[in-house]
Symmetry: C2
């Protein structure tokens, strides 16, 4: 009675969800994938360099380079060379990004609500805790 495994379900949910989220962000000039994660991290922690950011977002540093490039082109992020270490950049949100933050948050909230629209708040909590455990197991 279980047509799909846990792995397959996550794969399906994720693919559908990512597409919907990308669709919601597109009108704001923000591409799909991790871009919104990067922007959120920069808003929460201005001045970070790309390496730290890569660690926050848990993607590849090459992906970081490309997403930051796109966010910069879209006018959400500014990069300045770090005078302490001229290999690295310090990343800051632009005015546009700061003004956009509440909108971004509302889009992400709506997305997470949609993901869990079939679940009671107790179930959401349970799912969250279980996924945390799963992730902790993989990370090790």
């Amino acid at each position: 009675m279980r047509p799909y495994t846990v792995g397959k379900l996550m794969s399906l949910i994720n693919r559908i969800g990512q597409r919907e989220l990308a669709e919601a962000l597109k009108p704001h000039g923000i591409g799909g994938g991790g871009q919104h994660s990067y922007l959120k991290a920069i808003l929460a922690n201005p001045g970070m360099n790309q390496d730290k950011l890569t660690g926050e977002v848990k993607l590849d540093k090459a992906t970081t380079t490309r997403c930051i490039q796109q966010l910069e082109d879209a006018g959400y992020v500014m990069r300045t060379v770090d005078t302490e270490d001229r290999r690295s950049y310090r990343l800051y949100p632009t005015e546009r990004a700061i003004a956009f933050e509440p909108v971004l948050q509302s889009i992400l909230d709506a997305y997470n609500r949609r993901l869990t629209s079939n679940l009671s708040s107790r179930e959401v909590e349970a799912l969250h805790a279980l996924l945390h455990k799963v992730y902790a197991g993989l990370d090790a």
Copy 2:
């Protein structure tokens, strides 16, 4: 330090998991992504055409074309033109695929066990049920 959202957790888990699964399948000439899903579906239901298969696996029909192509090249799948409808192919597992089935199943089982290695069997059940609900909500 804010915790990850449900959406982000699924994204993280899925990315790590897909990579590991692809790694486990590579020695057998099976690429990552949905390829194993297609092979499993063909083994379970020989003679299907690609359209039905696309529905089973829930991916795009273009992706089906490419994955079947790869499975055929790797010697796991044979295609014969359907004499009833010459537009479509009937898909069959090769001897190699049939011999491989138990191995494939063990790899997928190991993957799902690894995903849930931090969870009790009761928790696995709960996670499974919750993901089903989430998926049902998205599908609608």
